[in-house]
C-alpha cells in the first residue's frame, strides 16, 4: 500500500437521502493512484447510489468529494467525465446501430470537426488508438451490433480511456458489474486488461461475485445499509469472511416474523414439471402449496428471474408442464395468469406495479374492475368502499383514496400493489424483490403482511434481494444456477439453512 500518495479520489462523510430512505450515510473512502478498489454489499446496501454519485448522476446531500485533494461538485455525467471519471456499466451504453469509432467518440465529435463536418479519417484513426490500449483487434468502422458482448465491454473500456486525453489529472474508471454477462475466459481477458491499465487509471470495481472482487482488487470496501462497514486488503481475505461482513447483522429470527410461520397446507396450487425456456432455464421442477412461501435463490443470470416471469405470464415456457390448480397452463400474457388467480408484485414497482398517475383507489381495483360493475357501469360508491377497506386493513398511509400513487412512499406503494392482488382474490402471489428500495420499517411491515396472507392460505413464490430475506421468509428454498435447480432446502422456523449452506450452490 502506498500510503504517502495523494488519493486520486476521496469521499468524506458522504450522505444521500431519498424520500423515506437514507440511501447513504457517512461514507468515507479513498482511491489511490494505480489502485483497484473493490466495492461489495448486498442489493440495497448503497453501492449503486454511490456509483451514481461518482458518475455525477446524483448529487450528495452531505459530505464532499475530493479529486486529487480538491473538493469538486459533479453536476452531471458529462461533468464527471470532464473531471476524468469514466464508467463501464453493466447495461452497456453503446449504441448498436453506430460504428465502434462513432461510439467511442459519441458526444465528442467536435474534436474531429472542421468547417462543420466530421473528419472521419481522423476520428477512426483516434478510435483505433483507443482500441489498441485495450488490445482489441477490431476495426473501428465495424458496426457495434456485429460485436459479441465481451468485445463490446472492451469497447466501453476503450471509450472510458479516451478521457485520458480529454481530462486533466488522474483517470478514475468505475466498473459496475462488468462481468455479470461474461464467460469466464472473457472475464480473464477483461481482468488482464484492467491490471495492465493500472498505470493509466485507478479503478473502482463493483461486483456481486466476491471471488472476482478478491481476485482483481487491491483493497475492498464492504457496504451495508448505506454505510461502509469494513475496509480490508484483498490479499488474505476470503469469500466467507467478506460475505459475513456484508450480511453483518446477527440473524434475528423475529425480523422475519418466524414465529408466525405456519406449516403450509398439503394441497398443491402450482406445480412446475421439467419447465424450460430456451436460453433462460431448463428442467425446473417444484410444487407450491397453499399457505407456503417458496423462495428461489440465485444470482443474476441463474434463471430465477425468468422462471418468475414465466409464472407471472410474461415469458411463456417452451418445455415441460406448468399446472395451476390442477389445470395445465401456458401463459402468453399476464392477463391469463391473473385469470388463474396469480398476482404479480414486480420489482419495478413504479412502472409495472402501479399506474403512478392514477389514484390509490383506481390502482387497488385495477385487476378486479369486473366485480364493481353493475349494468355495465362501475359503481363508484362500491369502489370507494373497497378502496377504503383495503387502505384500512393494510395500513396504507395516504392522504386519501383519491390521492395519486406517485406521492406515496415506497412501502405504502407496495401495500397498494398487494391490496390490488388481494382484492382480485389472487391465490398465488409472485413476490419479485418485494422489499427493494424500502427502509427497514417498511420491510418489516411487508414481512408481516406476507405472514398474514400465507396464514390465510395464499401461496407465495419469492425472489428476493438478499439471501437473508429469502431464508427468513421461506418455508422451502430452491437454489438455481445457470438455469437449473442446483439445491433444495427446507426452512422451517428454528431450522433455517445458513447462507453459506446455499451460497455454495449459487456460485
Amino acid at each position: 500500500m502506498n500510503g504517502a500518495a495523494l488519493p486520486v479520489l476521496a469521499l468524506r462523510h458522504v450522505g444521500k437521502r431519498f424520500p423515506g430512505v437514507q440511501a447513504l450515510r457517512d461514507v468515507t473512502m479513498e482511491l489511490r493512484p494505480g489502485e483497484v478498489v473493490g466495492l461489495v454489499g448486498e442489493n440495497g446496501a448503497g453501492k449503486s447510489t454511490l456509483m451514481r454519485i461518482l458518475a455525477g448522476v446524483y448529487q450528495p446531500d452531505d459530505g464532499e468529494i475530493l479529486l486529487s485533494g480538491r473538493p469538486i461538485r459533479l453536476a452531471g455525467a458529462a461533468d464527471a467525465m470532464r473531471h476524468g471519471i469514466g464508467m463501464v456499466f453493466q447495461e452497456q451504453s453503446l449504441l448498436l446501430n453506430l460504428s465502434v469509432g462513432e461510439n467511442i467518440y459519441l458526444g465528442n465529435e467536435a474534436a474531429f470537426t472542421r468547417y462543420g463536418r466530421i473528419e472521419w479519417h481522423a476520428l477512426y484513426a483516434a478510435a483505433a488508438r483507443q482500441l489498441a490500449k485495450v488490445e482489441v483487434g477490431v476495426d473501428a468502422r465495424t458496426r457495434t451490433a456485429d460485436l459479441d458482448f465481451a468485445t463490446r465491454q472492451m469497447v466501453e473500456l476503450a471509450k472510458a480511456l479516451t478521457l485520458e486525453e480529454a481530462a486533466s489529472g488522474h483517470l478514475v474508471i468505475l466498473l459496475d458489474e462488468p462481468t455479470s454477462v461474461l464467460e469466464q475466459t472473457e472475464i480473464n481477458i477483461l481482468f488482464a486488461r484492467v491490471r495492465a491499465l493500472k498505470s493509466r487509471a485507478a479503478f473502482i470495481f463493483v461486483s456481486h461475485r466476491l471471488d472476482e472482487v478478491l481476485a482483481l482488487s487491491d483493497r475492498v470496501y464492504v457496504m451495508k445499509d448505506g454505510a461502509v462497514v469494513a475496509e480490508l486488503p484483498a490479499a488474505g481475505a476470503d469469500v466467507r469472511h467478506l460475505h459475513s461482513l456484508m450480511v453483518g447483522r446477527d440473524l434475528r429470527a423475529e425480523y422475519y416474523r418466524e414465529s408466525l410461520q405456519r406449516p403450509p397446507r398439503t394441497d398443491v396450487v402450482l406445480a412446475a414439471e421439467s419447465l424450460g425456456r430456451a436460453g433462460a432455464y431448463r428442467d425446473v421442477s417444484f410444487a407450491l402449496h397453499a399457505g407456503e412461501v417458496l423462495g428461489i435463490a440465485g444470482v443474476i443470470g441463474s434463471g430465477r428471474e425468468e422462471v418468475t416471469r414465466t409464472i407471472a405470464g410474461f415469458l411463456p415456457h417452451d418445455a415441460g408442464r406448468l399446472t395451476v390448480f390442477g389445470q395445465e397452463r401456458r401463459f402468453s400474457s399476464p392477463a391469463e395468469a391473473v385469470d388463474c388467480g396469480i398476482g404479480y408484485l414486480p420489482r419495478e414497482r413504479r412502472t409495472e406495479g402501479l399506474v403512478l398517475f392514477l389514484s390509490v383507489a383506481a390502482n387497488i381495483t385495477l385487476a378486479s374492475l369486473g366485480r364493481l360493475r353493475r349494468h355495465f357501469l362501475l359503481d363508484p360508491a362500491a369502489e370507494a368502499r373497497v378502496a377504503r377497506d383495503w387502505v384500512a386493513r393494510l395500513g396504507v398511509r395516504t392522504p386519501g383514496i383519491d390521492a395519486i400513487c406517485l406521492n406515496l412512499s415506497g412501502g405504502n406503494q407496495q401495500k397498494v400493489v398487494l391490496a390490488k392482488w388481494l382484492n382480485a382474490r389472487a391465490k398465488i402471489l409472485i413476490l419479485d424483490h418485494p422489499t427493494r428500495g424500502l427502509d427497514v420499517g417498511a420491510k418489516e411491515e411487508v414481512y408481516e403482511l406476507i405472514r398474514s396472507v400465507t396464514g390465510e392460505g395464499i401461496a407465495v413464490l419469492l425472489t428476493s434481494d438478499t439471501m437473508e430475506e429469502t431464508i427468513g421468509l421461506s418455508h422451502r428454498i430452491i437454489v438455481m444456477r445457470d438455469g437449473v435447480v442446483t439445491h433444495r432446502a427446507d426452512a422451517p422456523p428454528g431450522g433455517k439453512p445458513t447462507q453459506l449452506d446455499l451460497i455454495e450452490h449459487m456460485v
Binding site: V355, F357, A362, L366, R373
Partner: protein, 315 residues
Amino acid sequence: MPAQRIERLRRFLPVATLAVLVLIVGALQPEFLNPDTLLDLASDTAVLFVLASGVSFVILTGGIDLSIQAMASLASVIVALTVDRLGYASFVAAVAAGALSGWLGGLAHVRLKIPSFVATLAVGGVLAGTALVVSHQHSITLGATQRAYIGWITGPWLGIPREVIIGALLLFFADTVQRRTPFGRYIAAIGAGEAAAYASGVKVGRQKVVAFVISGAFAAFAGVMLAGRLASGSPTLANEQLLPAIAAVVVGGTAITGGVGSIWRTLVGALIISVVRTGMTFIGVDIFAQEILFGAVLVFAVAVTIDRSKIPVVK
C-alpha cells in the same frame, strides 16, 4: 404547495380561457352574446365536438387517430350515395364503416405494432382515396326526396337546434363510457402506465382497438351530421377538421401523452375552438388564415398541458 397550485391552475385554465374568450368577443361584438348567436355557435360546435370526443378515447390511451377527417368525409359520401336505396339504414352503414375502419387501424397498430400515428395516417389515406373514387371526385347534393331523411339532423326542435341535442346525447354517452365503465378506466390506466396495466392483467391490445373503433364510429357520425347540415356528401367535406379536432381535445386539458383527460374537457376545448373561429369571422379574419392560429394554439396547448418533468423523452 406551489406544485399543487399549478396543477389546479392547469385544470381550470381551459374553462377560464373559454369564459374570457366569450367576454372578449362579446365586448367587441355585443350581438355575439345574444341567445340566438350562442345557439348557432353551439350547433356549429356539435360536429367538431363529436369528432373530438371520439378521438379523445384514443388520445387517452396515449395514441392518436389521424384518420378521423377522412373518415368523416367518406361517411358523408356513403350517406349521399346510399340514402336513396337504404333510407335511414344509410346512416347506420356510414357509422358501421367508421367502426370498421377504426377496427382495422387499431389492429394495424396493436397487432403489427405500428405507431398509431403512422397506422391511422395510412388508414386516413385509404379512406380519403376511397371517398374520392366512389364519389368520382364530385360533391353529391341530396335531392328533395333524400332530404326527407336528414330532417332529424338539422333544424330546431322545441327551439333548440337538433345538432345541439345530438351533441348532448353523445356527450352523455361518451362521458358515461369514459368515466363509468371498466373500459374507460383501462384506457386511462394504459395512457398513464401501460406496463402496470399490462402486468395487472388488463388486455391492453383489446382495449386500444376498442378506442379506435369508437374514434372511427364517432368520426363517421360527425360526417353524417355534416352531410345532414349541408344536404350533401363530398370527399373533401370534412377537410380542415383534423387540426381543430385534435386542438380541441388538447386545449380542453387532455394530455396528448395519455392518461389524463375527459369528454367534458373535450367539450370545453371544442367550444374554445368554436368561439375563436366565430370571433375571428366576426373580426373578419380569412377562414384559411384561421388554420395558422389553430396550429399555434395546438403547440401552445400541448406545451401547457404536459408536465415535462414526468416525461424524460418525447418522440
